[in-house]
Symmetry: D2
Subunit: 334 residues, 4 copies
């Protein structure tokens, strides 16, 4: 249940205030060049302190690869890796051991397991995404050798869609002890036609599951997405044409590069909606284990908006799904 | 790849104009009462001819259960079933063997497999969903013994959200040889807290994958979904309160009944966006295998809008996911 | 749990006295020629009435393919199939509804599910293997296009290893109302080097699981198998040499064509041990649900020895595993 | 492919001479008491230097648990762990980079991946089993709370079955630069009836796959195993009787505690055959990449017989399978 993927699988582990986060990326083809410095730079994009409104928890996030890569090349064996937790401040969370914060996973986790690690949200913390970014960064390097790239951008922060105004909006919310959500747009370029499984494993179904598994994500669509619901069939028809190289392409891309769950060679486009960060820097009304009201003072170090830090996470999840499907495609013929 | 689920798995098969559609529902607990007449009635909800704008292909959709149920009770063994295709009219599709329709899976399927069954769309036809409805109908009967219900409704057809105007809008589009999409809202009621796996198997990630695997679906969100992106954290906070029975509940439900990927006992709410039906009853510009333009005359029997027929499909997929997670939850403690 | 395989998966269903046995073979590559008449002949090898001591239940075992094959070629879609049960005689089993036969699955099934279909052993009947043979027969045809063949032979019946004496031994046991087990040897020829996953998915581990899943199988080994335990390292060393075509081969094959879980290009050899058939044609001491002793009269139609009928089952399981691994191997490089 | 299990899954990673071996044990129920000191002692049973003929590579095998256990209790989250490699001596293996040893995985690995880590056998080294023992040790602690124990013993070393003579036989083989294999017998006691899946997931099929995945294992049987092949049905009948507590048991246990793939409450008994260690301390004829003969001098530190060190490995694999099936059993009823 902590594993995603079919041929290329990622299994992750780690609690926010435990010794380390980590994972195992299995099924990576052998003989792929991996630049570990570039990988570290990719992981660094997710770190705190680089954008307005990000948490002040200062994790170095040094990636330690334990297996599967030798002299810069993948061996075909599982790639085990860890990222140590070095700046946890667990006492900020002592008040939380016996109460449930609104819009957090405290209550549901307790309902499910009957036990939880309250320190920093335990495994429910978005800190777990560091392992996804490590694995996804490796997948992206493999994809680049196939001419495939993945790029995400912040399309909306709160109700702001103009990039120049986003920083201001975040700073303002933060000043008021409040938080913002937003929308990330992601595009996969260079993917060949034929990726994805036409029934339950439709490419967009896999992408949806991967993106919806990122903390705080509340919505996913691809191509013209929810907007297509209000259109007529004649308005969203992607007519075929010939590309300059003679191959078949489409003139428009309302379909987001996927038809019937299978890629058609156009850009694969999708949107991912994030709810606002649930931890406010204000007094928050919560309940204890018995349902009695308590008031929580603001503690811990939290983001006012995670959209910019989430970009490499979205790219990582997209890369894992796309590479997995490149491998699956190899098995379609004898 | 034609299988969905973890403990409760559904595997389906069948081409639109082949002898039959069918499936295997495995992992159903033993000893559950199944009313096969009620199941048939559930499957009938998906049939053509019951709403304006539906296809005139007249399939009886008689469910034949081949195993796994004896004297009205599940045995714990796989439930195999078939639904015969009896009204296929394959010659309508002869013109399609060598060309690709826009917004259909003809081209992508060819790119993936190098071969395809052009008759009625083959396996890419929405006719495959009949197997989902059979399996989902069985799952719903099992859920009802747990006090859980699933209900979907058409929330939007084209740009129309008023139910009374939907029929008119569909009839109008149909008259013009055009088609409509729309949005279905679905709610799961009575689900206990603790369903869902907190990492990659978040309950909403599983639901998203299941819904996005339905033909024509282009978007999914849960709770306040995409609207949450524009809200502040303070605006979407679901404060806790005590329910009349003393248990812990939330006063509002912006979160759609899920926190951190795990159900919290409130209604699980989601929206599913459908693109308009891709087959127009007009001349359509397509291409042949070499990318040369051809014009397709309208042939075959198609829906102008599938939203109403899709209701039991959405309910079926939700039921399969929820029941699977009820079973998984049993393994959380020793 | 009724599914086997990774890329090529087989899911089966059916009770011995239900309407039909069947299955879904998913993941078959597209474009493979399948001769359905040859497939029927392969399935016929498993039928009763062809060897001494086989059951007199006379099933025609007509294979009905419902999907996935069009005009003699696979489509890449799941191959659904059924085989009707036409000669079930359920009243022979009425005495069994409330008691447990020794060495049968009656008691364990009841312990697991709390319910069971007593007619003909229900799903615990070896009749379920017909679905394996259908699927395996398709896999064998695909393998043959790769130059790979699978061949099983009866190596031992009871304590008899001389083929000419086997029939006599079976007839003698049958006369006494008794039954025999034995050993089947199976060889896969023409398999390329590099099949199998080196850790938990070792080729012989997959083969062992597949063979041990056949009813009545109690043991599996490969190469020199159990005999290797008593040998010294120096005695079982398969020294390398050059094959006539210049490729690397081994002079001997103690290792059974597998090193470190991966095929080395030599014949893959294995042995499968079957216990004697548990149903004797004698009065048998059993117990009722409360553990009280009862005596069962011989009823039903049963085999005195299943080894010869099991040959296509063993071949089918081997073929499924080998073809699956041929597909997996395609994903080892980018 | 480096993952085993259904609900309780173990994913491992690590090369023999890389920085560390490790794994992720996922699906462990929450709230189980784990004694880490006892776990370390269990892992120590696999260490070198405790029996005659074991390798002189001196690894401390300190288990570092990184997640999933807090204050001695499982959290229900994945248990990540590493065991550092501290005594690797890679230069012993320099001569092996370009040649293939007989009965080793050098050649097959190269055939599969086109690349390999020759240092200490890379991932093909039996050193990978340390991760299995860590995970299995945790599973055994969980099983003990259910009253289930797993115990393995060396039943045969070479052709010696008398325990008192085993040490002498190993010392003698070692003096001659030779190696021995043998047989381990393993019994699971206290397992309730109803474990195992009756078709492809038969309990003995799962056990077979798990045991056959241990390096050097060439055979598996359960109950009377291969010996049953030569017996008549009347000779191996396990007649039912009442246990002192009134429950139903069997008087004999030829069936090894499993009927129809499902446990019956008796001891689950099995045998695992190991081939002799492939590395001799003699000059060994090998080949280079082009198939030309080369002679390898004895290098590296190796075991002359691994049977005694393999005991905790066998127990670990049995424990993982049994606990997984205890969890699966919970899903059999609603």
């Amino acid at each position: 249940m902590n594993t995603i993927g079919k041929i290329l699988t990622l299994t992750t582990f780690g609690e926010s205030h435990g010794p380390a986060m980590g994972g195992v990326l299995d099924g990576m083809p052998a003989g792929v060049d991996i630049d570990l410095d570039a990988l570290q730079r990719f992981v660094d994009r997710r770190r705190t302190g680089q954008t307005v409104g990000s948490s002040t928890r200062d994790e170095q996030d040094r990636v330690e690869v334990l297996s599967g890569i030798l002299q810069g090349k993948t061996l075909g064996t599982p790639i085990g890796f860890v990222v140590r937790n070095t700046d946890a401040r667990s006492k900020d969370y002592e008040q939380l051991a016996d109460c449930y914060r609104p819009n957090h996973a405290d209550y549901t986790w307790q309902a499910k397991y009957g036990i939880r690690d309250p320190r920093g949200g335990g495994r429910a913390s978005a800190r777990e995404t560091v392992a996804r970014v490590v694995a996804g960064g490796i997948a992206m390097q493999a994809l680049s050798t196939l001419g495939i790239s993945v790029e995400a951008r912040v399309a909306q922060v709160g109700s702001v869609t103009d990039e120049r105004e986003m920083e201001t909006a975040i700073a303002e919310a933060q000043r008021e002890g409040d938080t913002l959500g937003g929308i990330i747009a992601c595009a996969v370029k260079g993917a060949l036609a034929g990726l994805g499984e036409p029934l339950f494993g439709k490419l967009h179904a896999q992408l949806a599951a991967a993106m919806m598994s990122i903390p705080s994500v509340h919505g996913f669509d691809y191509g013209d997405g929810f907007d297509m619901a209000a259109k007529r069939g004649s308005e969203v028809m992607d007519l075929f044409g010939k590309r300059p190289d003679g191959s078949i392409g489409t003139v428009t891309n309302h379909s987001g590069g996927i038809q019937g769950g299978i890629s058609n060679g156009e850009d694969i486009t999708m949107r991912i909606a994030f709810k606002p960060v649930p931890t406010l820097m204000r007094d928050v009304p919560a309940v204890d284990r018995d349902g009695n009201p308590v008031t929580l003072q603001p503690r811990g170090r939290h983001d006012a908006c995670v959209l910019h830090r989430a970009l490499p996470i979205v790219e990582a999840m997209a890369a894992l799904v796309i590479l997995d499907n490149c491998l699956i495609k190899k098995t379609n013929g004898l």
